[in-house]
Symmetry: C2
Subunit: 275 residues, 2 copies
DNA sequence: CAGTGGTCTAGACCACGCT
DNA sequence: GCGTGGTCTAGACCACTGT
């Protein structure tokens, strides 16, 4: 009975005021329904979602609300939007599988007969003709973080090598790899023209008389930085895998890759642990 | 002086029309400046950003524009917002390091003297008293995907075990792990009351007379699903690491964890590759 | 050109956290 | 109660993609 008087309230007019969101906010209702359609394959990967105008009509909400719902789906990695075209259910991309076998020299040796390979062209059958490598070499003093990974004094001079790797025209990976400068200065390894080096880092070190005995990789994930979003063409809602690699000879660290950045929608890392 | 003629333009009135965005959109200008402050530590982790009202005044834009800028920073994982309080520079969380040593039985044995440990309590010194485990066991037929990971026929009955793992009250991990039902039915392993099992899966299998020889982990990253965001209390802009694990005895797969889900802002996976 | 999304404004009211 | 962010509307104009 306390509510009997409710209907008598002078509610300005009728639906003049945006109804209060006592329950789930409207943009969530829209997002939930679209998410359902995507996850149940009612809208299969790659297919267009209804246009903003259509959603305004279907749900009876304003454009701002529709756009908020779509922004949520993008942040969840379920949809991508292209200006002038529309919003799509996120297509499933072919996955690049990176196994730890890629570091074994025997595998590298085998590929000598065919096209050049490195630790990141294996596991996918990418051919020499299908990938490009942009690189830039510099001599820099070790930062505190890198020095710690090398177990060297900060300021020790390093050869820093930055790579951007494309396969089939699509950027697949950025990385920064460092050697202690005194290890490589004056050798073919220090010459950018020799990249990509068949057999990769492990073979490079082998030509310097160094046999790699262990590699340690630390894997994290995060959202891409601004530069990475552009360079790797990462759509919103897609994280990156960030791998830090230490290459060991016995207890000595002879190479460090600070941040191997891989778009997570196209990459799987595979590790075997033998017990 | 270059602006003298400006005031003579018949610009309808004065600032009546939102200036066209010939260059960078305004919300990006706001976001770029705030990002700069965060990354240069002008606003250190955990500290409040200016309020929306303050940003409206500082940049002379509308509230919608300010909110769009903040949404961008959240999506980049740089800021988190709390209703009624404000927006903070994202605090740096203590990282849980998960090394592959955690699977070695010798390590598990060592911990027998102290509090119970599993493969996911090691590497962090978490004590029995500091973590809780929620679990739910079910008997289910293998889906096509799981059957393939086991190399078994789809429909084979499995014991499916779901876990939610908390440390210090904070949810740290969700996972679903499966054993072939005929392997464990009627044994202590099939009893949820025995979890957490000291020494973890590897020790469980050992009591069944099975010695694990190899573990394969496949690591991917993605944005969390709706349920994961709630269960693991993941703020927006933080991805999850999704690990698929196969536990081998020789060539036989005796355990599969379909999706070990780890919040990426609190986790680092470490793998050693011996060559 | 029409249709799509991108940017921006002004104003309204609701809900949370504090003091 | 005040200040914070959360939700929503209505309308405007810009910019891209197609025919």
């Amino acid at each position: 009975m306390p509510n009997c008087s409710m209907s008598q309230l002078p509610e300005s007019s009728v639906a003049d005021v945006p109804a209060p969101h006592a329950e789930r906010p409207r943009y969530r209702v829209v997002a939930d329904e679209l998410r359902r359609r995507i996850l149940t394959d009612a809208i299969p990967p790659g297919q267009l979602l209804p246009s903003e105008t259509a959603l305004i009509d279907e749900f009876g909400v304003s454009r701002g609300t529709v756009r908020e719902a779509l922004a949520l789906l993008r942040a969840e990695g379920l949809a991508i939007t292209e200006h002038g075209r529309g919003t799509y259910a996120r297509p499933v991309l072919p996955v690049r599988r990176l196994g730890s076998e890629r570091y074994r020299r025997e595998v590298a040796q085998l590929s000598r007969d065919g096209p050049p390979e490195t630790s990141f062209t294996r596991d996918q059958g990418i051919r020499w003709s299908a990938y490009q490598l942009e690189r830039e070499f510099r001599e820099v003093p070790a930062s505190a973080a890198v020095a710690e990974l090398f177990d060297l004094a900060p300021g020790t001079m390093l050869l820093e090598r930055q790579f951007l790797f494309r396969a089939h025209g699509v950027p697949q990976q950025m990385s920064t790899s460092c050697y202690p400068l005194d290890l490589v200065v004056g050798t073919p390894v220090a010459d950018p023209a020799n990249e990509p080096w068949p057999g990769g880092n492990i073979d490079q070190l082998h030509t310097l008389g160094i046999t790699v005995t262990r590699i340690r990789e630390r894997v994290r994930a995060r959202m891409p930085l601004a530069g990475e979003t552009e360079a790797l063409r990462i759509p919103s809602g897609v994280p990156v895998l960030a791998v830090t690699r230490q290459t060991h000879t016995g207890d000595r660290v002879v190479e460090v890759a600070v941040d191997i950045v891989l778009p997570a929608d196209r990459t799987e890392l595979v590790y075997d642990i033998d017990l």
